[in-house]
């Protein structure tokens, strides 16, 4: 038995799904902080409320982020969590690890922290859950000397993340992992020294499946796609049919653009009408593959609902090539961020700023032409602005 009685939490050790309570208990072997975490959490369960205070700003020298300050509001009762800060370690692209690397991470964390982690945080970081202010410098020195840096927090470029992409997926139209590594390195200063109006997130998915939810939770969402024709292997089409797939019902009838036909033998696709939604490819992966002229769609603006409702990202650049050294895309991203950085009020995300200013200033600033792909439909109202430059034409 631990330091505190935890009848309610104990209830959550029952049942087949892996239990976070068991994890908390395991950590008590490493650090007494975990005991107090457990005790305070039991109290939360009993009283139906949290006991954490607003974070004062804590961090490591020369960095403005990467650590979230957290203090118990009842430190007398639970002194072990009087300080209980989280440390965000920048994960690898695609969350690939070796046992060796993870053990090293654990060793250091056991030494300085609670023994608790989040694998991973919602933004992507490897999150170390609970340490004290005085340990922060040591933790940073230990990790950074071994090649691991802090992730990000505050009004900064946030830790970019991506889907597994070319690492283990046949549909990756772009190298999500390599690009994410590139862009993370490119924005090191902006990640570690918050100087933006607010947070800025970049997420990269290899195709329209969007396995990293880029379109829903990144200020800049990069999604792989192609421009030419879907590649078809008719022999495999036949195999699917032979194995009993209802190709008409499951594929053709669900194609949103009605651009496919199946005559019982072959599938034909009118690629001009295809919107590259990925449905047919996903459900017939042996027979259908993305085209070969690959690149990405760049979207901007997604965010959580505070204050005027959630946003999904909006298409900004329908197609851009994404080959190393990523010059064009990096320039575009810089131009986009520069416009936001110069124009936004404090705590204004880029999506919110676009809602206030309209798309035009951003398109002009980043030298992106207006194209119908940017809209679901054109405007409805007859109230539109004209610039002097429009009259010259």
């Amino acid at each position: 038995m631990g330091k505190y009685e935890t009848p309610m939490l104990d209830e959550l050790e029952k049942g087949p799904w892996p239990s976070f309570v068991t994890e908390l208990k395991k950590a008590t072997k490493v650090s007494p902080m975990a005991d107090d975490e457990l005790g305070q959490l039991e109290k939360s369960f009993q009283t139906k409320r949290g006991y954490w205070k607003h974070g004062g700003i804590v961090g490591v020298l020369g960095y403005g982020g990467g650590v979230i300050g957290r203090y118990s509001s009842i430190p007398d009762e639970f002194p072990g969590v009087a300080h209980f800060h989280t440390v965000r370690i920048n994960q690898t692209s695609g969350f690939f690890y070796t046992a060796e690397a993870l053990r090293m991470i654990c060793d250091i964390w056991d030494k300085y922290g609670s023994g608790l982690t989040n694998m991973h945080g919602s933004t992507g970081d490897l999150v170390l859950l609970g340490t004290t202010t005085e340990n922060l410098e040591a933790i940073f020195a230990e990790y950074s000397s071994r090649g691991w840096d802090l992730g990000s927090s505050g009004s900064a470029m946030r830790t970019p993340s991506c889907c597994v992409g070319m690492g283990r997926c046949e549909w990756a139209c772009i190298d999500t992992m390599d690009f994410t590594y590139h862009i993370t390195q490119h924005f090191q200063d902006e990640m570690h020294r918050p100087a933006y109006p607010y947070k800025f997130k970049i997420k990269t998915a290899g195709c329209a499946c969007d396995c990293v939810a880029a379109i829903a939770r990144a200020d800049l969402s990069i999604i792989g796609t192609w421009k030419d024709k879907i590649r078809i292997d008719q022999a495999e089409v036949k195999n699917y049919a032979d194995k009993g797939m209802d190709i008409q019902g499951e594929i053709i009838d669900l194609c949103p653009t009605e651009c496919m036909v199946y005559d019982g033998g072959e599938i034909k696709i009118n690629d001009v009408e295809c919107n590259r939604c990925m449905h047919c490819i996903a459900k017939m992966t042996k027979a259908l593959r993305p085209g070969l002229d690959k690149g990405a769609t760049i979207l901007v603006g997604a965010k959580a609902p505070i204050v005027v409702g959630s946003l999904l990202s909006w298409v900004l650049i329908p197609f851009i090539k994404m080959d190393p050294p990523y010059e064009e895309i990096t320039e575009k991203i810089e131009a986009i961020i520069e416009w936001w950085d110069d124009t936004a009020k404090p705590r204004e995300r880029i999506g919110e700023l676009i809602e206030v200013k309209g798309m035009r200033p951003l398109l002009e600033a980043a030298d992106i032409p207006p194209v119908p792909q940017q809209v679901k439909e054109p405007r409805k109202d007859p109230f539109f602005f004209w610039a002097e430059s429009d009259f010259d034409k």
């Binding site: 087949p16 969350f95 991470i105 982690t117 919602s122 070319m166 690492g167 959580a304």
Partner: protein, 356 residues
């Protein structure tokens, strides 16, 4: 004990150091995959090389002890290679086909939960809750554990019409992807905050506090060096509480969660969709939130029964219409369901065609 020398702005280590050799060789050259069981799949490269994946659930909160155990397993069966998914599952990357069954056997023995691949429920995206966040209005990990115990088979075996993405957000900041989930829980307050007037003057900047309110419900009370909240205008977002601690939004007996449904992130077939309100409020009932779990199960099983193959929850609802969704699930429709926020205009019905 001297610390090693710190480095700055080095970024994360380059990913390629962590890729199994077969992945390195076939990077970007995958041809297709096959789902072998609900917890295993194989990816086949152009040249025929294969990488097997075994996926196991994780509570996301992992102790270093558990991470070490996972490391041991990965060394035993995967030459030390493993990864995590974007939904926080553990993926063992097996190069040697012969090691799959022994791995599965050991995972079973150690009570790991294997599954989550294909048209079923995968791990639940969730955030800190009472475990670590000052803003939390419920506990995320607790609800997740309670619901996944109940929905367990939909992770390990049972098929659904398509993937069903679940999420829990412990406050309206929504650090998960609740706003685009098939079925999700978001914690909400229902009453305006209380104010500890005596401390406001000491601890808060009045203009910042007034400015923090999205609905302009707060005005200064300079006489008493505090602020006043217009309860009629407050929509309980908690923004004021974040900037000014003496304002308390927590009301344990009135707080709880809402359930939202029909969101989607992929662009397959239909556009990504926001989740919409299904149930405006259920009380916090730790440790097992039975009403929340029941409500989610009801929605899930109604979907499973009525949706067509490959239809996501939101696609199913849009095909049958929301009026049918409420009828089939038996969920009560209330004033709260009717949008009265910034974008109500596009959600009200502007058509004479609807179902009774």
């Amino acid at each position: 004990m001297a610390l090693p020398e710190r480095q700055t702005d080095i970024g994360p280590p380059k990913y390629d150091a962590y890729l199994p050799p077969v992945i390195k060789e076939n990077y970007g050259k995958w041809k297709y995959h096959e789902v072998l069981t609900p917890g295993t799949m194989v990816h086949v490269a152009e040249g025929g090389d294969k990488i097997y994946t075994v996926r196991a659930a994780s509570p996301r909160i992992l102790s270093t002890e558990s991470i070490r155990e996972i490391c041991d397993l990965s060394e035993k069966y995967c030459d030390g290679y493993l990864r995590f998914t974007t939904r926080n599952n553990i993926e063992f990357l097996v190069s040697d086909k012969g090691k799959i069954d022994p791995l599965l056997a050991e995972l079973k023995e150690r009570k790991y939960t294997v599954g989550g691949i294909g048209p079923r429920i995968s791990n639940v995206i969730h955030t800190q809750g009472w475990v670590h966040c000052h803003s939390a209005c419920t506990d995320a990990s607790g609800i997740v554990k309670a619901m996944m115990d109940e929905l367990y088979e939909y992770f390990t075996t049972k098929e659904l019409p398509n993937k069903v993405r679940l999420a829990v957000a412990c406050c309206v900041n929504m650090c998960g992807a609740v706003h685009c989930s098939d079925i999700a829980v978001v914690a909400v307050h229902r009453k305006a905050p209380t104010i500890d007037d005596a401390n406001v003057g000491k601890m808060c900047e009045i203009p910042t506090t007034v400015g923090s309110c999205p609905t302009s419900a707060i005005r200064p009370n300079p006489k008493d060096k505090t602020v006043v909240i217009n309860e009629e205008k407050c929509m309980y977002c908690g923004n004021c509480f974040t900037v000014c601690p003496p304002i308390d939004i927590h009301r344990p007996e009135d707080d709880g969660v809402a359930i939202v449904v029909g969101g989607k992130i992929s662009s397959l077939r239909t556009d990504p969709k926001f989740s919409k309100l299904a149930i405006p409020f259920l009380f916090n009932e730790p440790p097992r939130w039975p009403k929340v779990v029941d409500a989610i199960k009801n929605i899930l099983e109604t979907y499973a029964k009525h949706a067509r193959k490959h239809e996501r929850v939101g696609e199913w609802i849009e095909r049958i219409g929301w009026e049918s969704f409420f009828k089939l699930t038996g969920i009560e429709f209330t004033y709260q369901h009717i949008d009265d926020f910034t974008f109500m205009r596009d959600t009200l019905r502007t058509s004479a065609a609807f179902k009774f």
